[in-house]
Subunit: 332 residues, 2 copies
């Protein structure tokens, strides 16, 4: 099977929204008047972002999901994406499953594939995604990292730590009861981009970021971009750790048998969660609750933004905890 057959068979579909889709030197996209295009790009590499044995269906899902998560953090409505794919070989069953996982998620968000590239090479998946953000009275409604203000509440969506738990099991550092491992692997391999929540938070959240490298590092980006500090209630954050939110959580905690320090690491530096971390004025609490409800995404108030720089971690009694939880860095 040649390069162009491969594209035609697995990836080419009629353009719906784009003025021109796959099959020319360029795709053509005409953003609606009064909108900005939000653009993000993520590259997934074997043994870094996934393991050799991962299901191609999940991989297709995840490659797009991590990109949609960036649109979510920006409050952008998904429009389209390009896909560049380096493949060791043109393995048809692999390609069919990869394309199916990819397009199932793309269709769920009405996000169309408009172009890309395929080449032979070590497996590498690079997606660039395009979303739409309204500009109202000359002001963009995009959620940025730089908008947090002293006094704002700090929220996190959904649950944390599952992806890191699954990774630890795969690395042989931990064992998990089968039903918990299944749930944790599902979160690692098929993350849910919080697109609906991101859209619902337009005009409500003051800043947002998606949690890909771990909360400490990602919150650090908000603090740096907004030039402020934050206090995190670690006990509240621990309530967000996925397996502690399930029925029978006391038994689960016993079964997993982590130290308090390890639980905190899951919550503070888990990575690969693809939840949204966002800030909003306390005057917006009802609006945040409404956004959570309409998007059917739980949100948790876990801290506050402070004028004084730095990141402070407090326990349930308000005592300071050491803040040494490092986020993932590809070159550290």
């Amino acid at each position: 099977m040649g390069e162009f057959d491969l594209i035609a068979r697995y990836f080419k579909r009629p353009a719906r929204r784009a003025a021109l889709g796959i099959g020319d030197d360029c795709a053509l996209l005409q953003p609606a008047p009064g909108t900005q295009l939000a653009i993000s790009c993520d590259m997934l590499v074997q043994d870094r972002h996934f393991f050799a044995g991962v299901s191609p269906h999940s991989l297709g899902h995840k490659a797009l999901a991590v990109n949609l998560s960036d649109l979510a953090a920006c409050g952008a409505k998904p429009l389209a994406f390009t896909l560049a794919l380096a493949l060791p070989e043109a393995n048809e069953p692999w390609l069919a499953a990869f394309a199916q996982g990819l397009f199932e998620l793309a269709d769920a968000h009405d996000c169309e594939l408009i172009g890309g590239d395929t080449t032979a090479g070590p497996l590498n998946i690079c997606i660039t995604v395009f979303g739409e953000v309204p500009v109202v009275d000359g002001r963009s409604l995009a959620l940025l990292r730089s908008g947090a203000r002293a006094g704002d509440d700090l929220y996190v969506s959904g649950t944390l730590g599952d992806a890191r738990l699954a990774l630890n099991v795969q690395q042989g550092k931990l064992t998990l009861p089968a039903h918990l491992l299944t749930a944790a692997r599902e979160r690692l391999e098929r993350p849910t981009p919080r697109v609906g929540l991101g859209l619902a938070l337009r005009g409500i959240a003051s800043a947002a970021i998606d949690l890909s490298d771990g909360l400490m590092g990602d919150l650090g980006h908000i603090l740096e971009c907004s030039q402020i500090g934050a206090t995190v209630q670690v006990d509240r954050l621990l309530q967000c750790v996925a397996c502690r939110t399930k029925p029978g959580s006391a038994e689960i905690e016993t079964a997993i048998n982590l130290s308090e320090e390890q639980w905190r690491t899951l919550a503070l530096a888990g990575g690969d969660d693809y939840e949204l971390l966002f800030t909003a004025s306390p005057s917006q609490r009802a609006a945040v609750a409404h956004a959570a409800q309409t998007s059917r995404t739980p949100v948790h108030l876990v801290g506050q933004i402070n004028a004084s720089p730095g990141l402070r971690l407090l326990d349930a009694q308000g005592r300071a905890l050491p803040a040494h939880y490092a986020s993932f860095d590809h070159f550290a």
Copy 2:
């Protein structure tokens, strides 16, 4: 050096045209009213698109050049690009030279880096480029592969075959006099995207494509998309082979010592030339000549578009030549 230091040191620059550049979850681009965004994406992989020993300065140039070449073929004005980079290690001298080669070409085309991704992994460079195409009276001025009509002239810009010659030398299949090899390697490693010509051909050319895989295959895309056929004057095409256009070409031909068949392969299936292949109505001959002159890019009339499907190669006496010259395919 960590991932974020690496980005800050080598790739982050203040946004000029984009509403928001590097440093948030998404970049924000606001296309001018009445324009379409042309989008293209190319992935470069070691041992496929370049060799391990290539200069990082040239590689930075080429990675962007092949993308700008797609904008050129579309008649789009370069605006911005994203860069995803998988690196075996954070080698600072390599990164500095790569960034310099990349930004020199980007600046020459006023095309700004607005986002991307960096990760550890086998060397892989994926660029997605954005250009602007005017829409006039509801009609896009983009040059497409699908616009060729029976009776149109067929043109090629610049010169052909140098990149393939250099590749053949690197593969040990050929030797070249030093000054010819230097020129040929320059074309292989630092191709010139024909952006100015593409812009000048808006409203004049009926169809266009850039020559990346070789003329036979790339012309095949125009024929397929336009549902027509073509006749190529191979003797005219041979006049475009770079080293035959130089002063003293007779001596050069003797020195290189290729068979007539090998010369034809250079012209018809060379690959990596990044010239433009385009069609235009014979009524546009003066306009094509003017576009060539204003963009300071030579163009050569090398054939005609015919209503009957298929690709016919003719020699100087008008005799049919066999049409068996295959283009490059990454999976064939």
